[in-house]
Structures are given as structure tokens and as C-alpha cells.
């Protein structure tokens, strides 16, 4: 029997083929989206398959630069490049959230050159109070109606609640996986954990729940791993170049916690109905996702502080993508606050999957050396 982890790794590495196969088997339409702030449950309840869009790094950007400037984030440029080259052929449409400007305004470019049948946008609030959450719920209602028009099927309250239930289970299981890393000798590495999260962007959520249950069982049967010396938290935006995770852990550190879009931010929030219906619950839950573009430094610091304490973090590695202006802007203040409060060492590296890892390796190695002193 193939282990859950192998299935997860395979789903991330061969996401296009896996998604194409899934579509063939299920016949379900597929909707792509960016960032963890888009309530996937809405897409799922419309009997569509949500896909978090990330590029494949093996393909170089050849056509995308005719549309998007090279001073925009390379992940987004690569994503768009691969979309217009037909590499995400399994998609039927996309929902683009208001987030960083590059993503937000890609909506217009996407719509003009729309390679798929469906395109919509969603305004995600930048503050979290009753008025902005009410508005977010109204946005979800509008997008939901557009999805209904697209599929020709109604999104019932029952189907929304069912989707929320499945997703809540997924979030709960991922939290359990992450909790394992609180141990002195975590039975699962940071890299393995990120595969567990990122495979959920590809695999059907119900099936993924089964994989997570299997993973938890398999991990509980593992022999004890040797205790690594340094416990790191990695902070940034889309830290999806998994070579980086692998490199850091190969240098003797253990990534025990993260504050990244493709990690904890994807499932840390809870969706709980409080008498105002499932859309309001989704709005309230997803408004709490602490991406850099919608979160103040103080809120981010609260989020990271809890992680540092709960996961007994020895140091923080900021992996900030070149041209990710929101993360770049948060980094100086967040870094200062962490140093002041916790007195632990931190380091910032500028990342870009188009760059080689060698210069970063030197910097990370030096940082781990500092942790050892």
C-alpha cells in the first residue's frame, strides 16, 4: 500500500497530472484561486473542485512577460505564463481575490484573455469587524450566485454546511499533524508537514481527510526520530519553493512551525456558525486568515507569538519573496517585535524560485551557526 505521505508528495509534485486524472474520474469542473483567503467551501458546495494555483518551477517564463512586468512576483508571473500556455488545462475558471495588487489586478488581464469559461473576483476585507465581515458575506453571496449560474445548480444551505463540515475536519486534522511538531523530537519533519498541507490544494478534501487520517496513523508507528538541535519558525508569504524547506532541514534545523500562506495560514482559522448562516460563518472564518496584505503588524505578531511559544521556537527565518511588497513591508517591524519580546535570533532571506539556492544556503548555514553559539 502506498503511504499517505508518498501520495501527498506525488500530488504536489505532479499536481497537473493528478488534477487532470481527478477531473477525468469525477467529471467535476475545477476552479483555480490564489491565496488562502478564498473560502473554498463555496466552490466545493457548488459541486466544483477548488484548486490553489501554484506554478510548476520546471517551466521557464516565456509568454507571461508580455503581460506582466518582471518587477512583479515571479510566482504569479509563472502562474499566468502557465495558464496562457495551457498548462492548467484542467481548469474551468478562476476566482481572484483582492490581495496584493499584482494578484488583484491580474483579474483584468485574466478576464481580457480569459482562457476558461468562468472568472470572478472577491473583495477580501483588510480589517476584521462586524461591518467588514457582513460585507465579505455579501461578496460571497454574489460569487455564489455567479457560480450557480455557471453550473446551473443551486448552492443549498445543506451543501454549504456539508462543505464546511468536510473542511473543518480537514483543518482539524492538519492541526493535529502540526501539533506533532510540538514534541521535543517531532515525529514528522517540516518538509513532510508542508507536503501534507499543500496536497490539500490539489486532492479532493474528503479524500484528503482520509489521507491525513492515514498519515497520522503511519506517523504514530514511526520509530523515534533523533532530536534536532534548532527549532525554527519560517515566516513569509508563498514559501512554495520546497527546496528551501529541504535545505534548511538538511542543515541541522527543524522547521517546527510556520507563518506562511501555503502552511498554517491555510487552515489555522475556524469556521463556526453563530446563528447568522453559513455564508456569515465563512466570512468570519476566512477574514481571520493572517496574510500580509490584510493583517496589521500587531495582529501578525500575535499570531506568530503564539506559534513561537507553543512550538518552543529557537529562531525565526523570514523567507520573503522578492517583489512581495506586503511581506517585505511587514518584515522590519515584525522582526523587531519578535527580537524584543522573545530575544531569539532571526534572519531574513530574499527568495525567488528563479534564483539558485547556493547564496541562501550560506546565509541559512551562518544563521544556524549563530543558533549553535
Amino acid at each position: 500500500m502506498v503511504s499517505a505521505l508518498d501520495r501527498m508528495i506525488d500530488s504536489v509534485r505532479r499536481s497537473r497530472e493528478v488534477l487532470q486524472d481527478t477531473k477525468k474520474k469525477t467529471g467535476r469542473g475545477m476552479i483555480g484561486y490564489f491565496h488562502p483567503v478564498v473560502p473554498e467551501e463555496l466552490i466545493y458546495a457548488a459541486e466544483l473542485h477548488p484548486v490553489r494555483l501554484y506554478p510548476h518551477f520546471a517551466d521557464s517564463i516565456t509568454r507571461g512577460d508580455a503581460y506582466l512586468q518582471t518587477y512583479l512576483c515571479s510566482y504569479l508571473r509563472a502562474d499566468w505564463d502557465q495558464v496562457i500556455k495551457g498548462k492548467h488545462a484542467y481548469l474551468d475558471g478562476a476566482i481572484i481575490p483582492r490581495s496584493c495588487e499584482a494578484v488583484t489586478f491580474l483579474y483584468q488581464t485574466w478576464r481580457r484573455h480569459n482562457p476558461f469559461k468562468f472568472i470572478d473576483y472577491i473583495n477580501v476585507p483588510w480589517k476584521r469587524d462586524d461591518n467588514t465581515i457582513r460585507f465579505f458575506a455579501e461578496e460571497l453571496e454574489r460569487v455564489g450566485k455567479n457560480l450557480e449560474k455557471f453550473t446551473g445548480k443551486e448552492i443549498s444551505e445543506y451543501s454549504l454546511r456539508r462543505a464546511i463540515e468536510i473542511y473543518n475536519r480537514n483543518r482539524e486534522l492538519l492541526r493535529k499533524v502540526y501539533s506533532l511538531r510540538k514534541a521535543d523530537a517531532p515525529p514528522i519533519s517540516g518538509l513532510e508537514s508542508i507536503y501534507a498541507v499543500m496536497s490539500s490544494f490539489v486532492v479532493d478534501k474528503q479524500e484528503h481527510n482520509g489521507l491525513l487520517e492515514q498519515l497520522l496513523t503511519e506517523v504514530s508507528q514511526r520509530p523515534e526520530r533523533p532530536e534536532k538541535k534548532f527549532r525554527l519558525l519560517i515566516s513569509g508569504g508563498c514559501v512554495i519553493d520546497l527546496r528551501l524547506w529541504e535545505m534548511v532541514e538538511s542543515l541541522g534545523a527543524e522547521i517546527v512551525a510556520d507563518d506562511v500562506n501555503n502552511g498554517s495560514r491555510s487552515f489555522w482559522h475556524k469556521v463556526v456558525e453563530a446563528g447568522k448562516g453559513p455564508l456569515e460563518a465563512l466570512a468570519r472564518g476566512y477574514a481571520m486568515v493572517p496574510c500580509a496584505f490584510n493583517t496589521s503588524v500587531a495582529e501578525r505578531f500575535d499570531y506568530v507569538s503564539k506559534m513561537i511559544t507553543e512550538y518552543q521556537v529557537d529562531g525565526v527565518l523570514f523567507a520573503v519573496n522578492r517583489n512581495c511588497e506586503s511581506e517585505e513591508f511587514v518584515y522590519p517591524d515584525l522582526d523587531r517585535k519578535i527580537r524584543e519580546r522573545f530575544g531569539i535570533p532571526t534572519v531574513g532571506i530574499e527568495t525567488d524560485y528563479l534564483m539558485g539556492l547556493a547564496p541562501l544556503r550560506n546565509r541559512v548555514e551562518a544563521f544556524i551557526g549563530i543558533l549553535g553559539n
Partner: protein, 406 residues
């Protein structure tokens, strides 16, 4: 680059310069002082109705650039780990704050009592104001309105939400300052804002005249009045003065260039190079004027302001303008205005510091070129960080473009 030839500029520029000096002087002495943003900001009228003196760090960054101080301030910000990818408005202001310049442009900005923010610009500004909250520890009042990606079908709930946001912000301001913003005072501010907007729209119409009565730098100066003095009698009076003088120029057939000299009418897309406004003088020497720009035409003054419906007017203002809406909406307007203003060439600034106005610009330029068959030039640069500007590279491209125009 050739030095700008001495030409007769519209006299109102001196009045605007005086208003700018007064604004900065008032910012040094009057209290309470709030920092706020220039972009489609409904809190400007609210602040004046509340008796708050405003300062605009964004405008200050432009001033610093024009005085060639932005480069060193950006460098300082970078030593505080704000990388070059971040907006140079923000870096200029933060660099000024973190640095120790004994003689900053206009005497600098005084410490604020309050921070007023809207989300109608970009994430940078949200981050910038958040950084200011960290630096000053002063309350931040934040109006969080959505982007309007499909302006032709603006949902009612967007307006209702924006109204509630503004009401919430007013309640916060009242609580923080221990004041009450009277309904009639707000209504009066919105009425005055509306008068300035109406006059501005008439002013833009005058730019269709040949020869063109004002150049982009004059129009850029007039923007200060439209934005910073929105909701004040001073703003209305000055805007009317600008309009009257321009109308007279049109009636007398006086332009920045004479009718014979005016050989080309160009469109400037995106924000100008604030540290190199003299470039427009170079264009004038080459017989080129800029009757309009998306920057002067589509961002501010696009909403009718009705004093009898102050909250709705402010809500519509918050949701309007190019910074809020889709590029497609601007392209349609551009295609129409290029014809209306008799524009025969386009210079598009792909601005490293402004993603809002730059994402999609490749498409915009291509559509204009294809639909209208006019030449276009794309310049990769930055609005405030003059270290990004390369005289040789930029001028070489401009010269080639002008040669092509003939």
C-alpha cells in the same frame, strides 16, 4: 537633456504654490493634526468638517522628490530594511522619519495626533499607515472599502457598506477627539468639495482646446487644490481662479505653445517622474504638450458630490477612480479621450512603485496602438526614487519616439 525654455506659465501656479506653502505651514502649527492619504479619500471632507488639520505624507514624498531629497530618504529606509521593491512614496517618507535631516523640504511634517486611512489606494498604503501606527503609537481610523472591479455594475451593497464604514470612522474620530461632527458642517464640506469637482471637470474640458492652455505640470499643480483642499472654501475659490484664467487663455487662443508651435499632443500614462518634472519642458521644446493623463483625469474628481446626501457622496467617492477600479474601465475612457483631446502619441510609464496603475499597462498600450493606430512608448521607471531614473536610457527612447512622431 536640454534645459527647459522659459515660457509664460499660467499665473495660477503662483497661487497654488502659496497654497502649498500655507498647507505645510499650517501642518506645523495647527492641531489636531492627522496624516491621511490622497487617493479617493472620503475622510478628507470629514476631517475638515471635524476641524482637523491634515498632512499628506504622499504629497510630501512628491515634494521631496521635486527637491531631489527622495533618493537619500529611500536609501535611509532601505537601511531600515524596506527593500527597493516597496513603493518609493513610502520609502521616501519613512526614510525622512528615520533619518536625521536638519533641513528637510518644507520644514518637514509635524508629528500627528491621529492617522486616517482608506483602502482605496493599495496594500502599500495600508502597510505604510500600519508602520506609522507602530512608530507614533497614535490611533488609526481606517475606512475599508472594496475595489470595484466591474464599475458598470456597482452593487448597492458596496455603497451601503462604504456608508457604514464612513459612519464608523466618524464615530471613532468623535470619540478620540471628544468632538461632535455636525451634520450641516459635513454637508457644507461635501457641497464645497462638489463645487471644486464640478469646476475641475469644466477645467479638464478646456484642455481640449488647440493650442492647449495648460501642460501636465500645471494640471498636476491644480490637482493639489482638488485633492488636498477638498471640502474647503479656499479650495473652491482657488479652483475657480484656475478655471477662469484657463478659460481666458482659451478665449484668447493662448496656449503653453502657440498654435503653430504645438505639433503633437501626447498622453502621459501613470504618475510622472516627480524628480524630473522638467522633462515636460523638454517636450515643449520639441513642440509637444500633454493635454491630459490618466493620473489627472481618472483618479480624482470623478464623482458628483451632493451636499444633501453627504454620506452617499463620500461613499461613492471612496469607491470611485482609477485606483479603485478596473483597467478595462480606463481603457474605454482612454480610447474616447484620446480622440476628444486630439492626442497623437502615448507615453506610458511602467511604474515600479505603483502596481495599481502599472499592472495591465502592457495590454492598455497594445489596445490603444491597435485600435487607434497611434505610436506608443513604454518607459520603465519610478515615480519618486530618482536613483531608478537613467537619463541616458530614458532620453534615448524618448528621442527615438519623437523622431518617429516627426
Amino acid at each position: 537633456m536640454a534645459e527647459k525654455e522659459k515660457r509664460e506659465r499660467p499665473g495660477f501656479n503662483k497661487d497654488i504654490a502659496a497654497a502649498i506653502r500655507k498647507h505645510y505651514k499650517d501642518g506645523q502649527s495647527k492641531r489636531p493634526l492627522a496624516y491621511t492619504l490622497m487617493s479617493s479619500n472620503p475622510l478628507i471632507e470629514v476631517a475638515y468638517a471635524a476641524g482637523i488639520q491634515l498632512a499628506f505624507p504622499e504629497n510630501y514624498a512628491c515634494v521631496c522628490a521635486a527637491r531631489h531629497a527622495s533618493g537619500k530618504y529611500c536609501e535611509t529606509a532601505e537601511t531600515y530594511r524596506y527593500p527597493q521593491d516597496t513603493c518609493s512614496y513610502c520609502r521616501t517618507h519613512l526614510g525622512y522619519l528615520y533619518g536625521s535631516d536638519d533641513n528637510p523640504p518644507m520644514g518637514g511634517l509635524a508629528e500627528p495626533d491621529l492617522l486616517l486611512m482608506t483602502s482605496s489606494a493599495c496594500t502599500h498604503y495600508f502597510k505604510w499607515w500600519d508602520a506609522l501606527r507602530e512608530i507614533y503609537g497614535k490611533p488609526l481610523v481606517f475606512v475599508n472599502t472594496p475595489r470595484v472591479m466591474e464599475p458598470l455594475s456597482l452593487p448597492d451593497y458596496y455603497i451601503d457598506h462604504a456608508i457604514r464604514e464612513i459612519q464608523g470612522a466618524m464615530a471613532e474620530i468623535e470619540k478620540i477627539l471628544g468632538i461632535e461632527i455636525a451634520e450641516d458642517t459635513l454637508s457644507r464640506a461635501v457641497t464645497l468639495s462638489g463645487e471644486a469637482v464640478d469646476t475641475w471637470q469644466e477645467l479638464l474640458e478646456l484642455q481640449k482646446a488647440v493650442p492647449c492652455p495648460m501642460d501636465l505640470s500645471d494640471l498636476g499643480n491644480a490637482l493639489f487644490v482638488l485633492i488636498v483642499l477638498a471640502g474647503t472654501q479656499e479650495g473652491v475659490d482657488l479652483m475657480k481662479k484656475i478655471y477662469e484664467e484657463t478659460r481666458q487663455r482659451v478665449n484668447e487662443g493662448r496656449g503653453i505653445l502657440s498654435k503653430d508651435e504645438e505639433r503633437h499632443r501626447l498622453l502621459w500614462l501613470n504618475i510622472p517622474f516627480w524628480y524630473k518634472l522638467g522633462i515636460f519642458g523638454y517636450f515643449e521644446d520639441q513642440g509637444c504638450v500633454f493635454p491630459f493623463s490618466d493620473y489627472t483625469q481618472y483618479i480624482w474628481g470623478t464623482t458628483t458630490m451632493d451636499g444633501s446626501k453627504p454620506l452617499e457622496s463620500l461613499a461613492r467617492k471612496a469607491l470611485s477612480g482609477e485606483l479603485n477600479t478596473s483597467l478595462d474601465d480606463q481603457i474605454d475612457k482612454l480610447l474616447n479621450d484620446i480622440k476628444a483631446y486630439k492626442v497623437d502619441g502615448v507615453i506610458a510609464h511602467s511604474n515600479r512603485s505603483c502596481r495599481v496603475l502599472s499592472v495591465g499597462v502592457f495590454d492598455a498600450v497594445k489596445i490603444i496602438r491597435e485600435e487607434l493606430n497611434i505610436p506608443t512608448l513604454l518607459l520603465d521607471c519610478d515615480h519618486t526614487d530618482e536613483r531608478v531614473y537613467s537619463e541616458a536610457a530614458i532620453m534615448q527612447r524618448i528621442e527615438a519616439f519623437l523622431e518617429m512622431l516627426g
